[in-house]
């Protein structure tokens, strides 16, 4: 029973430097909403405006239809998990978790009960009496999570909570966070610069750049149908090729060199002329020379078990990366001439100037 957050036309300024200008978005009740973007894109700034560490210069933020602009942080009833855990080093695990309940002056028995519940939910009962210095990074982050949700906040905010953990723990904690969020059904705003993490954990992702939200969508849509070139190259890997859009016999066709193929459904605004074609490494197929395709030469290959990466150079001298499933066949030797084909319905097409997608919304 989470609550919705409405961010309405908010602006953040530091002196004369505007970090976020007129940003609006709606975060749905109970959803796992991720702010994703490169460092300095304003994602943490926005998060800190929601919790109240940053002032809001213009615009309004509503939580559950209640204006919160002027409510001090300690009255907002939001839980926050910090990048460096921010576990109080002078308190035991239990004292850390109980801290927020004690500030709310709950009866002792109630505090005890709720702390125990959360400790077992997060699976850290056995560390109950340890000091933070005796815990690993992952355990400390569990304490931080327990501490944030035990107060039964309306909203849970997380600021790059996994970035200080090693790769294996990151995946483990990612699953813990997702499980807990589902279990207690709480509206969660999550900040990260790690796109894989964002894809894995979110219901919806807002990709941000320069203080502007570029796209808000499900992880699947963000990856498969990026709304502009920035999203396409920031999320996953994209090979961007120059091409031409032409009206074919029945439908639109893309022309790269002499390689011609049909497009996914395009917007009504699409026009003939130059375009940018964005092809993910797994959307390429390597065919033999002579077949239709973009002529290219294999420069090197890397065998990674699950799949096989080829690095090729097109006839125009552009480097492209191709990922193919590793099967039992031979690895194509370096310097082999090949023809590169694309999985036509999966590729994305962008306007060369505006860099916006030309693919129709329902494609």
């Amino acid at each position: 029973m989470g609550v919705a957050i409405k961010i309405d036309n908010v602006t953040k300024r530091y002196g004369s430097n505007t970090v976020i200008e007129g940003l609006s978005t709606d975060i749905r009740a109970g959803e796992f909403f991720t702010l994703l973007g490169p460092s300095g894109c304003g994602k943490t700034t926005l998060l800190r405006m929601i919790i109240g560490f940053n002032s809001i210069e213009e615009g309004e933020i509503y939580v559950d239809s209640k204006l919160i602009n002027n409510i001090p942080t300690n009255k907002r009833n939001m839980g926050m998990v910090f990048q460096n855990y921010a576990v109080f080093p002078h308190m035991t695990v239990k004292e850390n978790v109980a801290y927020g309940l004690k500030t709310r002056k709950l009866p002792k028995a109630e505090v005890e009960k709720r702390v125990e519940e959360i400790l077992s939910l997060i699976k850290i009962e056995e560390y109950r009496d340890r000091m933070p210095s005796q815990l690993s990074g992952g355990q400390q982050q569990r304490v931080a999570l327990a501490r944030a949700i035990v107060i039964q906040p309306e909203v849970l905010l997380m600021d790059e909570p996994l970035s200080n953990l090693d790769a294996k723990l990151r995946v483990e904690m990612r699953n813990v966070i997702k499980r807990i969020q589902r279990q207690i059904d709480i509206t969660t705003v999550y900040v990260t610069h790690d796109q894989e993490e964002a894809l894995a954990i979110s219901d919806r992702i807002a990709v941000m750049d320069h203080g502007v939200i570029q796209q808000i969508d499900t992880p699947k849509r963000i990856y498969q149908r990026p709304s502009n070139l920035f999203v396409s190259t920031f999320i996953g890997l994209s090979n961007v090729l120059e091409g031409n859009l032409q009206k074919g016999k029945e439908d639109w066709e893309v022309l790269i060199g002499s390689y011609r193929f049909p497009t996914p459904p395009l917007k009504a605004s699409a026009e003939e002329g130059a375009i940018l074609v964005s092809v993910r490494p797994e959307e390429f197929l390597i065919a033999e020379v002579g077949q239709p395709g973009i002529p290219a030469v294999v420069r090197s290959s890397v065998f990674l078990g699950v799949n096989l990466h080829y690095f090729l150079e097109t006839e125009k001298g552009q480097e492209v990366e191709v990922i193919s499933q590793s099967d039992l066949g031979e690895i194509i030797p370096d310097d082999t001439r090949v023809a590169l084909q694309v999985v036509t319905q999966k590729i994305n097409i962008f306007h060369p100037q505006s860099k916006e997608t030309l693919i129709r919304e329902d494609a």
Partner: protein, 555 residues
């Protein structure tokens, strides 16, 4: 290869043994001498505890002890609270001119406490400036000036809080702001946050710095001597006893020294126990940032910080002002400007005071830096039972009052083959010893930050161990060592408690001269000397800031 390796370890062994020998001669032997004298019957030469019984059974002596504890506890408490408050305010609230304030507070700390005592007498004493104003403004009052307990506490508190301030400000710098924010997000009010997060986290630092204040206040005799009047404290009795104004009983003085050492030792261990249990290693990704606060709170904070800084600085301002004024009778300054005070003192013929101060100071710094760096290197990188012993041994002067070191030196180094009393050497060694623990600790911290693999890389590239120390580790340590050396210099030149016991007419330093002139009622001369000392400290401090580019200071 084998030959090389053994030559290397021989070299470090030789260094270790040399330093160990020095510490045996100049720390262990003098202290043993004091212990020995305190329990020896001068007539029969047998074992006796008479000196201790005498001290603890006579009300005259036990009262001085009670007085000392009262003064020390109250002054330490006030210093801790003031230091903590000012550190927190300047770190968390935007204060105009806070950088300047920081330097001013440090400067107010850099003078021997007794200068504060004599300056406050001129302000709040019987004929003090402020006393007269009070008595004139409020008819019917007959304020007799601030002496005794109140006077001593006032001087010590204002003189010592900067120490707590400097330490706590440093600790707050290491406190990550996300801890504050976490508490805030969990619903804690400002007050609750300070009480439950900030104070507990800086408590070990407050305690450690309070211990330094405690030991400084407990063993200082200059201040109670000047402003205490009838209020006798333990160090005053020790000093009088030793200097022989009342009587001259070496054996009783030795017992007093032992009692003093035991007390500081006890407090040292209490402090360490509490701190150990509550110490947290913290490094801040993002330290607290001074915030804008409501107008009311801002005005209040500004007022408080400025007032305390002004009060702390007042003695030095007073001294600088009076150094240019003519005295009518001792202590009574007219409004006539004059340079007489300087002409009579530092510029006078045969006056070696400044030369002595600089010479002893530089000599001591040189000793401290060379030996300190070697010891910290040995203790950090060549750990063995021997180097650990050395490390512990060098910490001793940290908990032994300067006057006790002075007295111990005179007892032990006044006869052949170590006939050092009255020489410059003995003063330089005493100054170096007193500063050594601080230098070792800061050098150890610097070495700790240099990865051993850097040195190993040099060795793997063919450098000898000596060469890698000289060409890799040492140059990397140098900036830190230089910064530490300047701070050592500033503290060494304002040292009084051991030099006052060891000086002779031809080895007077600035602090000793100030004290002597004050005791002789030559306040003008004292003010002139004092101004030179302050000037030296301020210039050194500016040099420190310029050379290191640092904004903060640790003493």
């Amino acid at each position: 290869m084998m030959k090389n390796a053994s030559r290397r370890s021989n070299f470090w062994m030789f260094i270790t043994l040399c330093i160990l020998a020095l510490f045996l001669i100049f720390v262990v032997y003098p202290l043993s001498m004091i212990l020995y004298k305190s329990v020896i019957d001068p007539v029969s030469g047998g074992l006796t505890f008479d000196n201790f019984t005498r001290f603890f059974t006579r009300k005259y002596y036990t009262n001085t002890m009670i007085n000392s504890f009262k003064v020390t506890f109250v002054a330490t408490g006030i210093s801790a609270v003031l230091g903590l408050l000012i550190a927190y305010i300047t770190r968390s609230i935007r204060i105009r001119g806070s950088k300047t304030l920081n330097i001013l507070i440090v400067i107010s700390y850099l003078s021997p406490p007794f200068i504060g005592a004599y300056a406050w007498i001129q302000l709040l004493g019987r004929n003090g400036l402020i006393t007269k104003v009070i008595n004139a403004l409020i008819p019917g009052t007959n304020f007799g000036g601030i002496y005794g307990f109140a006077g001593i506490v006032l001087v010590f508190s204002l003189q010592s809080f900067p120490l707590v301030y400097m330490y706590v400000a440093g600790a707050l710098q290491n406190l990550d702001n996300s801890l504050n924010e976490a508490a805030e997000s969990l619903g804690a009010s400002n007050f609750k946050r300070i009480r439950s997060i900030i104070v507990p986290l800086v408590l070990p630092t407050v305690l450690a710095s309070s211990l330094l204040v405690f030991m400084r206040v407990f063993s200082d005799f200059g201040t109670p001597m000047l402003i205490g009047e009838g209020y006798r404290t333990f160090p005053v009795v020790l000093y009088n006893q030793f200097m022989g104004e009342v009587s001259n009983d070496d054996f009783f003085s030795a017992a007093l020294c032992v009692i003093m050492m035991l007390i500081t030792l006890v407090f040292f261990f209490i402090q360490r126990r509490i701190s150990r249990r509550h110490s947290y290693s913290m490094t801040a990704l993002k330290p607290m940032e001074p915030r804008r606060v409501s107008r009311k709170l801002s005005i209040l904070s500004h007022g408080f910080v400025y007032l305390v800084t002004l009060l702390a600085l007042l003695p030095q301002l007073m001294v600088i002002a009076t150094s240019f004024l003519k005295e009518s009778t001792p202590g009574m300054f007219t409004s006539t400007l004059t340079l007489d005070n300087y002409l009579n003192t530092i510029v006078a013929k045969n006056n070696k005071v400044i030369g002595n101060t600089y010479l002893f100071g530089l000599g001591a710094i040189l000793l401290v830096v060379v030996i300190g760096v070697l010891i910290s290197y040995l203790a950090e990188r060549k750990r063995s039972a021997l180097t650990s012993t050395l490390d512990t041994l060098t910490m001793l002067p940290y908990i032994i009052p300067g006057s006790v070191i002075g007295i111990a030196f005179l007892y032990s180094l006044s006869r052949p083959p170590l006939m050092l009393s009255g020489t410059a050497t003995i003063i330089i060694i005493a100054l170096a010893l007193r500063r050594m623990p601080y230098t070792i600790r800061s050098s150890s911290a610097i070495i700790g930050q240099i990865s051993p693999s850097i040195e190993e890389a040099a060795v793997s590239l063919g450098a000898s161990e000596m060469r890698s120390f000289r060409q890799v580790t040492l140059p990397m340590m140098l900036p830190g060592i230089m910064a530490g050396a300047i701070m050592s210099w500033i503290t060494v030149i304002s040292e009084l408690s051991s030099s006052i016991i060891l000086y002779r007419a031809n080895t007077q330093t600035l602090t000793v001269s100030i004290y002597v002139e004050v005791i002789r009622n030559n306040f003008g001369n004292a003010a002139a000397y004092s101004t030179v000392l302050t000037l030296t400290s301020v210039l050194s401090l500016i040099l420190f800031f310029k050379l290191t580019g640092r904004k903060d200071i640790s003493v």
